[in-house]
């Protein structure tokens, strides 16, 4: 375990070099909130509620959702693996006495830990700037469940990107897979519009898939809604992590021999 903590620590340290990225990352959270402020300000108009949301609970949802989205930096994993496999330097990881998957999870944990503080500060600043009456649950069990779902969601995204990266062993171009993943994630995680505003049948189907639980459910839980889904949410996202882990093991076992790292 110590080796993975050290991997996370070194990536935290490496982020310090790229301070401009941190500032940009913080600033980018505002675009989503500003968009939500203008859009929902117009939609709410004189209405007090839309689909069970007040104007301020809707903005609270967007702030939490934007915060969680910014934390998911798992695309770093697929990009790194894909590039390394293609140019033959993936052996950098293969020769180390570590689990490659855990190495990447530790790497993402380091990066996320670093950005966590800054994204949190950004969220607080936007709450004050937009004078939002921030809605946040006070139920400790719900908060605990939401945190666990968030952690499992981040783990799932790391696993998914690890898996997509490994597909470079089989396919020359994984850009299409990544594009499909990004589009699904952007829409199905509810970061564009809350899923509750979509048709019920669509949402019911989405509940079977993991993306519903990555940002949408924890965001809703944290603003005090969908409390009855917290346990089932935990079970479903955990099950998806297990399923994806099995898929990863099978894929790695099957394709690792295809790796070619000669002539570097």
């Amino acid at each position: 375990m110590r080796k993975y903590i050290e991997i996370a620590k070194i990536y935290i340290k490496a982020q310090l070099i790229w301070r401009a990225d941190v500032v940009l990352n913080m600033v980018f959270t505002v675009t989503k909130i500003l968009f939500a402020y203008l859009l929902w300000g117009a939609i709410f108009g004189s209405k007090a509620e839309v689909a069970g949301f007040t104007f301020h609970s809707m903005l609270s949802y967007y702030i939490i959702s934007a915060f969680l989205n910014q934390l998911d930096m798992s695309s770093l994993i697929s990009n790194e693996i894909s590039t390394r496999i293609r140019n033959g330097t993936f052996s950098k990881y293969m020769i180390l006495p570590v689990s490659i998957e855990k190495y990447f999870v530790a790497m993402e944990s380091g990066v996320v830990t670093f950005y966590l503080a800054f994204d949190f500060i950004a969220a607080i600043v936007w709450i004050f700037l937009f004078q939002i009456k921030f809605v946040f649950t006070t139920n400790l069990a719900t908060i605990a469940c939401a945190i666990l779902i968030i952690l499992l969601g981040l783990l799932f995204m790391a696993q998914l990107n690890y898996y997509l990266g490994l597909l470079t062993l089989k396919y020359q171009e994984i850009g299409t897979f990544l594009m499909i993943k990004n589009n699904i994630v952007a829409f199905v995680t509810g970061s564009i519009v809350p899923l509750v505003l979509l048709p019920g049948a669509f949402v019911s189907i989405m509940k079977l898939f993991p993306f519903y639980y990555v940002t949408y459910l924890p965001s809703m839980l944290l603003i005090g809604r969908f409390q009855n889904e917290r346990i089932i949410g935990l079970i479903v996202i955990f099950a998806w992590c297990v399923i994806l882990q099995i898929v990863i093991q099978v894929t790695w076992g099957k394709y690792r021999r295809k790796y070619d790292g000669v002539g570097i």
């Binding site: 050290e6 490496a14 070099i17 330097t89 020769i95 180390l96 570097i264």
Partner: protein, 231 residues
């Protein structure tokens, strides 16, 4: 251990070494001893806390070697360890590898197109051609067998002609590479060096040099003939 860059370019070498200490589970005391041994051997004390991206290629290669050797591996695989390095850095890397092999007993499997690396470092050489082993044995023997010629350069203070007729008794296997009134360069069969030199001295050259055949030519010969000899 294959030499793929393990250094974090944004950080210092010390940071990467700390990471590798944990990855390989090296106890603190052993870590300090090994690190200090290599830092002194490579003379890189001043570079340990410098950002890796600011190091030169030669310096970086030394650091990569330290990272690769930190856990005292019994065997290391090096692929072109001196590629792209200047003559001084190449020589340093070769002497470090030799020291590591002798002092730590580390086996080094080295692939290189630079024959200087091979001659300086390898007692045993394996030559592979199209995936087939065409030689496996003593490096000196290999060069002894395939280094068939020597290059002789003669310079004269006055214009001199080497009499063709007299010389012809000896000229079997002699190839004239360059000929001017004041300078003659020729390639001669290695086993006839003393005999030919004795005769050439009769023409009173002002200077004479005898060089080993170029290594590239030797390698070419190994590949041309070796397949038939050793297959």
């Amino acid at each position: 251990m294959e030499l793929v860059s393990q250094l974090f370019f944004e950080l210092t070498v010390e940071d990467t070494l700390r990471l590798f200490k944990e990855i390989y589970g090296i106890p603190e005391e052993e870590y300090q001893n090994t690190k200090n041994y290599f830092v002194n051997l490579f003379d890189v004390k001043d570079l340990m806390n410098v950002q890796v991206r600011t190091l030169s290629l030669g310096e970086r290669m030394k650091m990569e070697l330290i990272v690769a050797l930190l856990h005292n591996p019994q065997i290391i695989f090096l692929d072109e360890p001196t590629i792209g390095l200047d003559a001084v850095a190449s020589k340093q890397i070769r002497s470090f590898l030799k020291a590591i092999n002798e002092e730590k007993g580390t086996t080094i499997v080295l692939t290189s197109h630079y024959m200087e690396d091979i001659k300086a470092l390898c007692k045993r050489t394996i030559v592979i051609n199209h995936g087939c082993k065409i030689y496996d044995g003593d490096t000196e023997e290999l060069f002894e067998k395939y280094q068939k010629n020597k290059k002789i350069t003669l310079t004269f203070e006055t214009a001199t002609e080497l009499p063709q007729l007299e010389f012809s008794e000896l000229d079997v296997g002699i190839v004239i590479l360059e000929e001017t009134p004041y300078k003659k360069v020729m390639m001669i069969p290695k086993e006839r060096t003393s005999e030919i030199l004795r005769n050439l001295m009769e023409f009173s050259p002002s200077d004479i040099s005898v060089e080993e055949e170029e290594i590239g030519t030797v390698v070419e010969r190994i590949y041309m003939e070796g397949g038939q000899t050793f297959a």
